[in-house]
Symmetry: C2
Subunit: 337 residues, 2 copies
């Protein structure tokens, strides 16, 4: 019984103002015919008795909640490090805020979390949901698909899942930044590919491969599950072992690129003279590194905003098709390539 024991209800307001519940309800929702006299009395009564509407009851009556969930499916470490997620959250918050919808963000950190989050989402707590960083065979998405809850994804959904989404052209952006390495005259170009269990990781590898064409060498591909600094460092060491003549590297996230940079410098390679290095994300890592990283900027904030709009559209009856929308990316040329 968290709210105060004797909760103030619309009845108390009605009694204090000397009117009926219905009239109070009309005033609170600003509709229908209400006399000025009654309106003023009610507004005064609301203040004096300290009335706060009970949203649970309101939800029940209206069958809505006034809230939209943002589900982040990401292990601890990455949630902390990944700047994109924060930006997505803020972009979504901005849009929902103007629609007077409350953003509630839910972190999935284990299987038990998934189940509880699904229960939460389907339990009438939210009117819609934005799902970030879903991956292949995602239990959450499978559960969401069996719901009519208006949902939007950030990132391309896995095969077989049909939901509205916004994302970036990961393959195209990866190809563009790979092409930059080629244009700089690099002939032995490797990749540190991370997060292959989701669309972004897989697409970046595909774009890299497409850009190199026949010059693509599977021996220069190093895979890692997580996009972390340490993973980048270790992967770069492995790549140098395997192919000491490597002269260009695409690390598919800035944190990974920063780790790779450390390994390169430690191995006595000059960057970009001996090895040109590019990252992805344009996070604070990129500006912080010495040399500063050439990378790809993705409009994370806009992605969050667009996804939120997709949800709001569905709420106002505009159906959203399963076709996705791609936001533009931009290659940011700095010093590392």
């Amino acid at each position: 019984m968290p709210p105060s024991a004797g909760r103030v209800t619309i009845r108390d307001v009605a009694a204090a103002a000397g009117v009926s519940r219905g009239t109070v309800s009309r005033v609170l929702n600003g509709e229908g015919y209400v006399s000025d006299h009654a309106r003023e009395a009610i507004e005064r009564a609301v203040r004096t008795v300290g009335y706060v509407p009970n949203t649970a009851a309101r939800n029940l009556a209206l069958n809505r909640s006034g809230a939209v969930g943002l589900v982040v499916h990401e292990p601890h470490e990455l949630f902390l490090e990944d700047p994109n997620i924060g930006a997505i959250l803020l972009g979504a918050n901005e849009v929902l805020s103007t629609a007077d919808q409350q953003l509630v963000s839910l972190v999935i950190d284990s299987e038990r979390d998934t189940e509880r989050v699904v229960r939460y989402l389907r339990g009438g707590f939210v009117d819609g949901a934005v799902v970030v960083s879903a991956r292949e065979h995602d239990a959450l998405l499978e559960a969401m698909q069996r719901t009519t809850l208006p949902t939007a994804l950030v990132g391309r959904p896995p095969q077989g899942v049909e939901m509205p989404w916004v994302g970036i052209d990961n393959a195209g952006a990866a190809a563009a930044v790979t092409q930059l390495l080629v244009d700089r005259g690099r002939r032995r170009v490797g990749i540190i590919a991370v997060g292959l269990d989701r669309d972004s990781g897989a697409d970046r590898l595909a774009g890299f491969r497409a850009a190199l064409g026949p010059a693509f060498d599977p021996g220069l591909v190093v895979e890692r599950p997580l996009y972390e600094y340490a993973a980048g460092r270790d992967a770069m060491r492995e790549l140098l072992d395997r192919a000491p003549d490597v002269d260009g590297v695409f690390a598919t996230s800035d944190a990974v690129a920063a780790g790779a940079l450390e390994a390169l410098l430690a191995a006595g390679r000059r960057v970009p003279e001996d090895v040109a290095l590019v990252g992805f994300d344009d996070s604070s890592w990129a500006r912080r590194c010495r040399p500063a990283l050439t990378t790809v900027r993705q409009p994370a904030r806009d992605l969050g905003a667009a996804a939120a709009r997709l949800v709001l559209d569905q709420l106002s009856g505009i159906p959203a098709g399963p076709e996705g929308r791609l936001l533009p990316t931009e290659v940011v040329a700095r010093d590392s390539a």
Copy 2:
């Protein structure tokens, strides 16, 4: 009407199982006497009709919500950069998760947000709240104080606000790390003090001052509102201008210290030989810098967990006094001092 139009209710389950609502309710809540026959029929019916409990209705009847809010009051840029907030969130999520409570995090980014968040918190959506990074004269806290909602703060509350809280001994930790500079033989020790509008910032400055005692020189204090990389860089330039003979610097956050480091190196100072530098937080900045930063580790994750426990205690009827609890910090000696 986000959930599907013809929502499956407990009545449908009762009809399908050939029993009454009351019996279904008893089975779902696992209490009272129910025959095995009825239980099995109901469990089967739940699956076949696809029943999901409506939490809004449940809340209304029980006057609870099964959720706890985490309110983060932080401008955009810092929310993205600050590793502590993410760790607090995860610590809280861990504890609440075991109590089967849903953590919902709410970001306050503008005054309009404050109002909506207060409405949300008081509207029966949550059973309790954890508030992070409140500051002096916080409209949110003032509103929360007039509520009986079980609340816990991360960080010492401002003057006049009485709420249970957990935090760290900012003054003591700042004094310890300042003392380390003194022990290294530094005589002209400056500080880049940020976030003075909240307890952490003000206390760190006070601890610094106390540690130096008579050696404290107000001319070596540079203040900045936000704890950002750029702020640290600019502040360090200012400090070097003002006092070229400075030989030790306490930057009250790692991000600020990293910025200060750039400015020092750019000015041709060797670190730590010419100027010893210490930070605060032990964030990824600290390990990433060259030289790696000497800093203070604060148990952000434990802070989140402890605050969540304070809320859960109150929910189970254990009153929490306004006295705070301090978690230990640790000076991490690396290369910068």
